[in-house]
Symmetry: D2
């Protein structure tokens, strides 16, 4: 921690700051510049930097240790590669996940999975518990939805992911799914994160609508701190002043995260933009920028979908897009 | 719902839209303007407006029904007044809640409550379960903290509020607290909201960091839809590009919410700004703008506080501020 | 400037950084902590910190000198008080400016000024050159508008402010107005700022829609660097994700700016909220938070106003509000 | 314009609204739904929708005409293709512009242009007048810079673009440059836009830091309304709460703009991210998403650059990137 003193600060104030941090178990290193005296506080204790900023003569306190450890490239240099039944995320591998917003019926899932499987998709998505902003909206089929999801996936030899909303649902999810999703609105549901740290299945952690990249990585740290090393990060758009698109997909988060962390980062273009005709360009952008995977909404019949039909691709659209994405990936020396 | 067609749209496309909405149980009213044909879809069914926006010739679809019902002034004209052991929020009454960020020890709480009580405060706050962005930070005393909180409050004849983080904690909270707080990061933890709808104690619902006012009211709607009519809204700052203050306190949310909803809205200046010297001006601003209450962090010894000491007032500072706030309130014909 | 090195950085990389900054005229002070070595770069040269961040082994570079000088409280401790024909801004004085969005006709201005004058207002506002987002919207009366503004103001012994949009308009403005306004969209029109630095009349500098407080102060620094010391800052709302109000009025900017700078800061509640019924609560909030002035849109007949009628107060509404504001000001020991 | 009335509105209030709009030259079409009566106001007059929102019984007023005309695909279906000395933007052509932040010396420009020319670049960028946030920073070489830029470009048979900051500079720019740039901070400098509408050379219009896509298109409309049909839009990052990158590059603006408007849209990855190692991934993302061009900062010696060296590519990096971009473009059936 670095404590920058005001210009022309008195020796007395400097001494008081030094006494303050020494009492709290830090060593002090002093360095005088032309305008500013800087005090380095050296130690491993935890202290709220604002407490020091309130002392007389202090201009600014700067934290220099990164708050995250296990998620950092300093902790692990090589990419974490997460392999779920042969679908790989990270280390040059791009994982593809596709499926409808919501599990509606066995037939709907079967029809969708049949087509996706034909196009080479090996991981199926589908919501059973839905976080809806209105209490009056359809809230999902619940466990019945998870059962259908798994049954259909087994038929086509696919893996499965679905969103878990509550600590008490985790044991149920472990029976049916291969990857547990945490939705954007639960990114800082710390009780849920802690419980997910105790399981040994991969967790797909979506970025909160207004979460900084640092906060997002700290939420991954919560899971890893519990002993679960299999975290996939998922960028799905942040909230900005622009309202033509539902959210602003932060494509630059891909290279930023990949530099700081060893965890794979994938992109959800469907929820970010909210409109079908923007999914293809944003999927291509994500792959070109180096994403480690994509999660795309596809429905066998978007026009009759119970929810999010407007942002779901028709299976044929998806098939064409997937071919283009493979061609783009090969240009940047990656592969699905 | 209003469907605005593109200029120069064909009759065939208009017909297709009308057929589409009729199949889904709506009546259609057509109105032709100089540039645009507008189709009014009349009915009570739920439909995703984006599905219609994807039809040929459609320019824009506009929802005109408000998504909230129970929270709205259309549903209830008069202010909801929430009265907790004599502390009132709403209807011209400004409720004051004060206390430390976290319950640390019995002595800390006792010392703080003794002073607050002397200044006339009748509701105590204090965290027992803390939502911390880092898994390595102090997470609160848990149930022990709630016990201390209640014991001290009883001694000074005060009411009590504390933050609940998880569905499974609700029965425990009901034993100790008078108002259950929902933190900003849990504003869209819908399982928690639903469970809080089933209790019959007041809920203090903080606005999420990037929640629109509409989303915030929808979260209140979740609680009310379950039958719990006692919801207090709490503005605590939104996330913007400005980083000198921790968040940007949206004071204009006060008159905006008061026009749309009958629920009381209070302000938390401590978390919004994150610095002690900004709390007094922002508290005054909130009262002058018509807030129905304040929740302020006060600690008997901020310099040694376990957390958030930097944004906690000294008891004496609080005492002076409270006097000023009472004087401001009387100017606008309200009272604490 | 402080250069924080990565943990476990090599001695060679440390040496390279030191060589790099020495070549550019800085002294280096080294300080080793438990995790991080920190190099203090001492000197007065200008260097882009990102250049150093790109060197091997560097974690982060932190600028510790403030970029502003003349606007800072370090440069001048006492409040700058700007006195325009007896209307004072700063140092405990709250200045009031009122008038219509746009100068429309002599009669409109005369009717409005007559009432404002009766209520004790001594400074009149009114746009003659209007920055409109659409090229097809009314662009203002131009010089004719300025003439009317001054003629009416002289009749009621009032001072005058109006918005200047272009360097070439400055000489014309100097003939008619007492304070030259710079609009939010021109806050970083640096050529305009430089030219306004050369005049010797007060400048009212609005904050840009997405300007940080630091950028805003730097724009004031441009004016002061040219020798014009009379700058009034005006907060008028920033752009956020919330769309119920046109912008989000950043009331906390008032105490933040007052701590950093000696310049007066006033508030424009009319443009921030965009709706008449939000102006009174936000004006009161601004005064309670310590604003040094207000600029409020008032029109003798808002229903027939050429522009912004919806955010203009009726004269009688203004009269009542002004009385309330005076009462609030006296509570916090300030006066209009 | 559609006027949505409150539920249970009185007939009298409906009548008042109808009278109000008729007096202002509109026809009224009434349509009654289950909850809401909607009044369509038909006509070509301009009216501030907030004036109507203030009438009794009005819930909301919705504008349905697009504010832009000439920039819209309704006005012109085919892509505008801008061809500057053989460099094409739009209609399947991706234009490449490269060069340093600032023109420093003849030798610097010559060395940079020599390399860029070798890699196949045909349009050179370089600032001569620099919009700097600090009055104390280097402000550019002025006209001397433009001369050098043109002299070097002529030597290598390249076209030239540079930023114009002020109306009075336009005649000078017309002598030296092929495309006049408008910087993000001047996107709503309406006097500048109007003057650029009167020339007959292409204008490259950057998006403002907090400009909505609609506002950006309205600024293009200003230029086109003056008769200049050659406008290139340039996305360069918007301001959000995320601070690891300087701005958040809004890649989704590419398909959004291309649907609404016929104008070409290019991307500036250098200013958006502010760091060299993020330029390659974001350039690839832009091309994959369908951008009509790129403007990239390249400097013959970034380590000694006067400004923005940290976000400038080394010529060799650029050369490699350009090859990759061409390969990506061919996948999506476009070409440089």
């Amino acid at each position: 921690m670095l404590i920058v003193m005001q210009p022309n600060v008195s020796e007395e104030n400097i001494k008081k700051v030094i006494d303050y941090i020494k009492q709290r178990g830090f060593d002090a290193h002093i360095s005088k510049g032309e305008d500013h005296t800087v005090i380095g506080a050296v130690g491993r204790k935890v202290i709220d930097k604002r407490d020091i900023e309130l002392l007389d003569g202090v201009k600014e306190v700067i934290r220099i240790s990164s708050p995250y450890k296990l998620v950092s490239r300093v902790f692990q240099k090589e990419d974490t590669v997460i392999d779920v039944k042969g679908v790989k995320f990270g280390g040059g591998h791009i994982g593809m996940i596709a499926g409808p917003c919501t599990v509606e019926t066995y037939d709907q899932m079967d029809a969708t999975a049949a087509k996706l499987s034909k196009y080479g998709v090996k991981m199926l998505r589908g919501g059973a518990f839905k976080p809806r902003t209105s209490p009056y909206a359809f809230q999902g089929l619940g466990e019945e939805g998870l059962k259908i999801l798994k049954e259909v996936a087994d038929k086509y030899n696919m893996a499965v992911t679905s969103e878990v909303m509550e600590v008490s649902q985790i044991p149920m999810f472990l029976k049916y799914v291969d990857i547990l999703q945490v939705g954007a609105r639960n990114m800082q549901n710390f009780n849920l994160l802690k419980s997910l740290g105790e399981i040994r299945k991969p967790v797909l952690l979506k970025r909160g609508l207004s979460a900084t990249i640092e906060e997002w990585l700290m939420s991954a740290e919560y899971i890893m701190a519990g002993g679960n090393r299999q975290v996939i990060l998922c960028e799905r758009g942040i909230r900005t002043f622009e309202h033509i698109t539902r959210n602003t997909l932060d494509i630059s988060a891909i290279p930023v995260v990949q530099k700081i962390s060893h965890l794979p980062i994938i992109v959800d273009p469907s929820h970010a933009t909210g409109l079908r005709d923007k999914i293809a360009p944003m999927s291509k952008a994500a792959v070109a920028a180096g994403a480690d995977g994509l999660i795309i909404e596809v429905h066998n019949s978007p026009d009759t979908a119970v929810c999010d039909g407007a942002q779901s691709l028709y299976p044929e659209q998806f098939g064409e897009l997937y071919e283009e994405l493979k061609a783009l990936a090969s240009v940047i020396k990656k592969s699905f």
